[in-house]
């Protein structure tokens, strides 16, 4: 009986507004090649986020969708938020 663990980014979504990049990381446990467990971990990459720790695929997507115009619009959105 062989148990293996695999971690993959199984879902990467670009969500509007602000072109947020939502990343779902799946940890898959297999017994003799048959999946017996799958758990998820999520994070969101905002236009102003540091992406140096992201995977190459996420970095490429962020580079494509987080244009300067998107970054500027997001910064303006954050600035106009009011504190309750």
């Amino acid at each position: 009986m062989a148990l293996t663990e695999e971690t993959i980014e199984d879902k990467i979504e670009v969500v509007q507004p602000h072109s947020m990049v939502q990343v779902r990381t799946a940890t898959i446990i297999k017994r003799d090649g048959i999946e017996i467990s799958r758990t998820y971990h999520r994070h969101v990459v905002a236009p102003d986020a540091d992406i140096t720790g992201e995977s190459a695929e996420v970095q490429a997507i962020c580079a494509a969708v987080h244009t300067q115009a998107v970054k500027d619009a997001y910064a303006a959105h954050l600035a106009e938020q009011e504190t309750p």
Binding site: V15, Q16, P17, H18, M20, Q22, R24, T39, Y40, H41, R42, H43, V44, A46, Y74, H77, L78, Q81, T83, P84
Partner: protein, 152 residues
Amino acid sequence: MALSKITNTGIGTVDDITLSGGVYLGGTGSANYLDDYEEGTWTPTVAGESGTINSYTAISATYTKVGDTVYVFCRFQVTDKGTGTNFVVSGLPFAGARELLGLFSETNTTGLTGFMFTAGTGATSFTSRRADGWGNNCLVNGSYSVNMTYRV
């Protein structure tokens, strides 16, 4: 749609059902349509709204998403609050929070309680406010539990 482990005759017992689409519950309108359910973990990052928190530990953080509503829970321990005042927790599992209801409690030192709010649409973080006064400092060295619900 896939059904697995049907036992006996008919569909008396079904262990798992896998749907490629959603399911209508209690009616056939769009308000009856459930198209998403997911459970998982996320990683909270804690910072001061102003000032700097020197040390904290994220203990656990989970989410459950049902349709367009996300339920999040997290626990963290602040061991050296430094110059931080209120705290901001980043790393929400889903963006696009439009509406939010959140509560936090400090569980092992002072019993502080208060509310959480986000920075509106597209938010990926939430900020604390004390129940006994919005302007009062929420931050002590202690263990915090946060329960929050928001829509995406």
